[in-house]
């Protein structure tokens, strides 16, 4: 990517963000929010965060070594830590350290 393309990428992210923040104030002031939009508000977050987890793992190929094992194990540790303590930062830090140790020392 050239410098200009990088700035366009960052600019588009900023623009999209501002659209999502400003649009309600421009469109829905004084009106009732359409039912379908309200529905998406409930249903979209779970689906999008699911998609983002898959996005993070897009380069993992289960057919070649290390078969996604370090990723799978580190995710398991993250989930267990989170179910146990329910401390977001602890779960993220624990899972990351676990992954770093696995790929640097084991795999």
């Amino acid at each position: 990517m050239t410098l200009a393309q990088q700035f366009i990428t960052i600019g588009l992210c900023a623009l999209a963000t501002m659209l999502t923040r400003f649009v309600p104030f421009l469109l829905f002031s004084g009106k009732r929010t359409p039912r379908f939009i309200q529905y998406l508000g409930q249903a979209l977050p779970g689906a999008i965060f699911g998609m983002l987890v898959v996005y993070c793992l897009k380069s993992v190929n289960p057919l070649v070594y290390s078969h996604g094992l370090p990723e799978g194990l580190a995710i398991l540790v993250t989930i267990c830590l989170h179910l146990w303590k329910r401390q977001m930062l602890l779960s993220i830090a624990g899972g990351t350290v676990c992954y770093m140790l696995l790929i640097q020392l084991v795999f």
Partner: protein, 236 residues
């Protein structure tokens, strides 16, 4: 002087509410800055992105976007969908942010998850100006995030241990957010649609071009499954 008194009072009332965010943003912001730094970007990249985009999830994803080939359409759509939840923060804050003059524009600009949750739920103490209270909550939160991201960006170049695998911090973050979402929802259909549609599109279209089809499939499936999801879930 009168006006300074009002501001000082509002700042003093707002600050304690933002303390939990200081910890969270401190950690995630530094992690994000280090992540950018070890990905080869100078510290002013995370600083600039923290100031302009100001949305944690998207900023993490943006690092991967910057490292792959230029894809403006996918970037824009992805950003819209990741940030789509802000639409609902806006809807919820319509009344509270009305009639606040110029401050309104900054409040809407800085409407991240954390500022939303404080300003939506906190009771503004008696005698404290509502507009300035919201303003300082939003401003303090953004300061934490920008400072943390910048510090992370600077620290990244000082790190001497092997940082291989540090990028997993983004995966772990989304796993935790997804898990939190999973635990609080009464139906899992929408979350499952997100995961399954993405995996299928990844297999069909490959890792460099699966995002746009995945987002399209997710929106279609959510539209088609509206009845069962609304029926099963806590929706409205």
């Amino acid at each position: 002087m009168q006006s300074n008194g009002i501001k000082r009072k509002a700042l003093a009332a707002a600050f304690p509410h933002t303390l939990p965010i200081l910890t969270g943003f401190g950690f995630l912001g530094v992690a994000y800055g280090i992540h950018m730094s070890v990905s080869g970007f100078p510290f002013w990249y995370p600083m600039l992105m923290a100031m302009t985009i100001y949305g944690g999830s998207l900023e993490f994803v943006c690092v991967s976007m910057l490292l792959s080939s230029f894809a403006p359409l996918a970037t824009f759509l992805m950003a819209l969908l990741i940030q789509a939840r802000h639409l609902f923060y806006g809807i919820a804050m319509l009344d509270k942010y009305r009639d606040l003059g110029w401050k309104r524009f900054y409040l809407i600009f800085g409407l991240v998850d954390e500022s939303f949750s404080i300003n939506c739920s906190a009771e503004v103490p008696m005698g404290v100006d509502r507009g300035w209270f919201y303003f300082f909550v939003t401003l303090l939160n953004q300061c934490y995030w920008v400072c943390a991201a910048t510090i992370g960006g600077l620290l990244g170049s000082l790190i001497t241990f092997d940082t291989m695998g540090l990028d997993f911090v983004m995966t772990a973050m989304f796993v935790v957010i997804f898990l939190e979402q999973w635990l609080k929802e009464k139906q899992h259909l929408s979350s499952l649609i997100g995961v399954i549609a993405s995996v299928l599109c990844l297999m069909v279209f490959g890792k460099d071009s699966f995002l746009v089809p995945a987002m399209a499939v997710i929106l279609c499936m959510l539209t088609l499954c509206r009845k069962p999801i609304e029926k099963a879930g806590d929706t409205l």
